[in-house]
């Protein structure tokens, strides 16, 4: 099997995540799609590390995981705060910045 298949899978998962960010209205589901995109890039990093024969890609994937964990904590706290004030987790209802 060609190891590039992992990269193709990663591109596919990334596109699905991007479609989810554009399509979904629920802020939590949008956030899950962002996580899927981060995971897809991690898969590409690991596959490239294996093709290149060094561990740098795996180190970068590790740092991506750390940043993703921090991002989830902050993002979910923001979602909870928005829900508390607006009683809705829909991204359409948080539109006051428009005016």
């Amino acid at each position: 099997m060609n190891p590039m298949n992992y990269v193709y899978l990663s591109a596919l998962l990334f596109s699905i995540g991007a479609a989810g960010v554009l399509l979904r209205r629920n802020a939590i589901v949008v956030f899950m799609c962002v996580e899927l995109m981060l995971n897809a890039t991690n898969l590409a990093f690991v596959a490239f590390a294996r093709m290149q024969g060094n561990l740098d890609g795996q180190v970068i994937a590790f740092f991506v995981m750390v940043v993703a964990a921090a991002e989830v904590v902050i993002g979910l706290a923001i979602i909870v705060t928005i829900f508390r004030t607006r009683r809705s987790a829909s991204v359409d209802s948080a539109n006051l910045l428009k005016y």
Partner: protein, 274 residues
């Protein structure tokens, strides 16, 4: 899910090639798990309920963990299971619980043609990625030499030498994230909590429903919380079933009633406005 996870780990270990070429075991693993990962992520995209999306995302992440294990990255594979499917997805489920399971998506398009445009953009973006990957010349060096002292040792040697500054900055990031989450999630109480007398007066002054809410229906053939009670005129009593069940659409029709209940959002309940 844990049983299937351990099977995946065993499969991945069997599929790990010793040389530079990818083995047959790895190809079997890939063609088995890649469709599952794609289907699960598509299911996450299209499922109506956020809880289903979360569980399907966890399945996708487990598949990715198996891919990491198959690609000589055992440390990342284990971290993926522990951090993503363990911590991050449980955090997602906790927030779903706080926000309410009934917070499903509205299917109303606020911008006209946005859905079609989004699908076209995502398909074009995917095609762009896939076709640009096709031009890349690949070598398959394999990680046999890099992992000679063990994967964890090799990663540690890199993190604490070449990437030590990034590692230190990461600690600052984590502290900032923890503080930020505390500040965002904290709520200062600006008024004194009501005592029992004030609560009772408020309830009677509101005049909506001072007495306890009616219980669900008890019938000869069905007796459960998901069946509304019948009012004297034969209409189902809206307030007799739980609001969560109504929002989920899990309420049965009472025997002899024409409709299940009215729209859940119309029902006025005491205590909702607090």
């Amino acid at each position: 899910m844990t049983i299937s996870g351990s099977t995946l780990v065993a499969l991945a270990a069997a599929g790990t090639p010793t040389g530079t070429a990818t083995g047959t075991g790895e190809a079997v693993l890939f063609w088995l798990l890649a469709p599952i990962a794609v289907l699960a992520s598509l299911g996450m995209l299209f499922s109506k309920k956020a809880v289903h999306s979360a569980l399907l995302l966890a399945l996708t992440m487990l598949c990715l963990a198996a891919f990491y294990l198959a690609q000589d990255a055992p440390f990342l594979g284990v971290v993926q299971v522990v951090v993503y499917t363990g911590a991050v997805m449980m955090l997602f489920l906790f927030v779903l619980m706080l926000v309410g399971v009934d917070s499903s998506d509205s299917l109303v398009e606020t911008l006209r043609g946005q859905r079609i445009a989004a699908i076209v953009a995502a398909l074009g973006f995917g095609a762009l990625l896939v076709f640009s990957i096709g031009d890349v010349v690949v070598s398959n060096a394999g990680l046999a030499t890099a992992n000679a002292d063990g994967n964890v040792q090799g990663l540690a040697a890199l993190i604490f030498s070449r990437y030590v500054f990034a590692f230190e900055v990461t600690s600052a990031l984590l502290i900032t994230a923890a503080l930020g989450a505390m500040v965002l999630a904290h709520r200062e109480r600006i008024e004194r909590p009501l005592n029992q007398r004030q609560l009772s007066e408020q309830r009677f002054r509101g005049g909506v429903h001072p007495a306890p809410l009616p219980g669900p229906g008890v019938y000869a053939r069905h007796n459960a919380v998901d069946t509304p009670a019948l009012l004297p005129d034969g209409q189902p009593a809206d307030v007799s079933v739980s609001r969560v069940l109504l929002a989920r659409g899990d309420v049965r029709k009472a025997p002899g009633a024409d409709v299940v209940v009215r729209d859940a959002s119309e029902i006025e309940r005491p205590g909702d406005d607090q």
